[in-house]
Amino acid sequence: MMQHFYVFAFGSTHAAIEAERLLASVKAVVMPTPRVITASCGMSLRLEDEYADEGLRMMKGSGIGSWRYYEMSGSRRDLTSKLLAEAES
């Protein structure tokens, strides 16, 4: 089955937890960082397509630093990631 979703990966677990609270209203799901995304902490947030833009807007205005935003697609066993946006700490 093909999948398509969006992922925020973080430079620190604290940033991830802060973002989780912020993005609860856009139904962010906590997940282990997909294996294809390296160099980030192990906790990521998954957003479905309908909340992708709103989630990014919220993060950009949040002041939370050190995150990257990816578009994920492919099968469950073979996901690829595309970097869409990032914020430095």
Partner: protein
């Protein structure tokens, strides 16, 4: 379309074939070298409403699948057609509303990630057992975990939730996923499992 899946053990031939069918292939020949693969591919095609014929013997087989996959068929996970048990014989025991000792907020996020990973992974547990504080995770506090537990149920996992514990926490009418159960059944599931993982 010709697919060479010789040398591949299940579930790989089924996954490879399903990928082609998902991509719109309506005339697919799969070469395999073991009878289990023949059986599983046949089962998949039949279940998906496609025509299937197989030929060959002694480690050299071809399965010919024709027909168009329905939208519903495309959403089906291929692993379930494998004769190899999709659900392994292990149980997961969730006895707390967090994972590990330490910071409670981190612990809550870790248990969310653990249940998410179980629900997305190939190796679905035979049973998922909630007791004591663990019952809160499927009784109103955690929409994400509730969703993922429902997904596990749909993939064949039995989910039992301690009724005594729900009652103690005042959550008896809040259960959102799984079946209310008791100590006898929960312990029996552990005893029958080859392995019980406690989270």
């Amino acid at each position: 379309m010709y697919l060479d899946a010789r040398g591949k053990q299940c579930p790989m031939p089924v996954i490879m074939a399903k990928k082609e069918l998902d991509g719109g292939c309506t005339d697919l020949t799969v070469a395999v070298d073991n009878e289990t693969a023949v059986k599983n591919l046949t089962k998949m095609a039949t279940n998906l409403g496609l025509s299937v014929e197989s030929s060959g013997k002694d480690g050299d087989y071809e399965i010919h699948i024709t027909g168009e996959l329905t939208a519903e068929g495309r959403e089906t996970e291929p692993e379930q057609f494998c004769e190899l048990p999709a659900t392994a014989n292990y149980s997961v025991f969730v006895s707390k509303d967090h994972l590990g000792e330490g910071d409670p907020v981190l612990g809550r996020n870790l248990i969310r990630m653990a249940i998410y990973t179980l629900s997305e992974g190939d190796n679905v547990p035979k049973s998922l057992l909630f007791m004591n504080g663990g019952v809160k995770l499927v009784a109103g506090e955690e929409p994400q975990i509730t969703e993922n537990v429902k997904k596990l149920i749909s993939r064949g996992c039995e989910v039992l939730v301690c009724g005594t514990c729900l009652n103690f926490y005042g959550l008896s009418d809040k259960l959102e996923a799984g079946t209310v159960s008791n100590m006898y059944e929960i312990l029996e599931r552990m005893q029958k499992s080859s392995n019980t993982i406690t989270l």
